[in-house]
Symmetry: C2
Subunit: 176 residues, 2 copies
């Protein structure tokens, strides 16, 4: 049990549909808090968290996709351009990890979130993928799709899907 | 992070289809080993494992379902009758936990495994359910059903499904 490499947990995180960038969605924050409280606990050296944010492509040709953020300082050097584009969504998660003393890495990719997450799992080979989920009913799922269901079927590693707490669900449950 | 109650992980475990009782299936052992290596790690006081074995009912009216096993000694008092019926499948898991120093409980229920597991999740309210999976293809799944898919949809807690390692898959992948 001891002496092994840290357990690498990948987390797919996205922005709030209500507040926009740089705010993380309710389900992303919930999944992150759950992982810290229930899995990492006090064993901060036993885990490394890998935060992936997938941006849906837009028209302005933004393609600075190769930056890796691992400490609060990395965000200080971030260009103004990237800040306005919401890249500092990741800053929240990296700062929290830094405070607690859990190693982390964070990066951004562009594309269809569910496809990109599964592709990155294949590339990075984490021990576990954690994704937040809005816990929508079958009717709502048809229209908005669900990343978590797709990943549970297709990701090449074990997957935990963490549903939002009932008391954190916004008036319109499609919001997050 | 510290001072909180232990994270309670429920595991559904079953017997080997090849070797029968009291041997645990390949996927049950794999899910158990994964949980120890990747989640519990050295933090043995931070977790409690709850082993549930669901027996499919047979005709001899066996109904001694209320025993709880939490240490190797508990199995010494087991009646010969129960031993021949395979209840000591649970002994393997309880002994391993005892060696490592992880608190555990183990019990047996009768019924349809997927329904009973979800029912027990509702009753016991673990933080996480871990189930092993044979990782069958869609064609095989139609005929044998899969407990893990059902639980991922219906259990009222986060679920991890751990697939068997490729090098542990028997000649006939339906075996376990």
């Amino acid at each position: 049990m001891e002496g092994a490499e840290a357990t690498r947990i990948m987390m797919g995180v996205n922005e709030s549909t209500i507040k926009g960038y740089p705010h993380a969605s309710i389900s992303s924050r919930g999944a992150f808090d759950w992982t810290l409280q229930k899995i990492v606990r006090s064993n901060t050296s036993g885990f490394k968290l890998l935060f992936l944010h997938v941006q849906v492509p837009d028209e302005d040709g933004f393609d600075d996709m190769d930056s890796l953020y691992a400490s609060p300082e990395d965000f200080k050097n971030m260009k103004h351009r990237d800040r306005t584009r919401g890249l500092h969504l990741l800053e929240y998660f990296v700062n929290r990890c830094h405070e607690i003393g859990v190693a982390c890495e964070a990066w951004i990719k562009k594309g269809d979130p569910k496809e990109v997450i599964c592709h990155e799992v294949k590339r990075v080979q984490p021990d576990l993928l954690v994704v937040g989920s809005r816990g929508l009913g079958p009717f709502q799922r048809v229209f908005v799709g669900t990343v978590s269901e797709f990943c549970q079927k297709h990701a090449e590693c074990p997957v935990i899907s963490i549903k939002r707490r009932a008391d954190e669900t916004p008036q319109d449950p499609v919001d997050d």
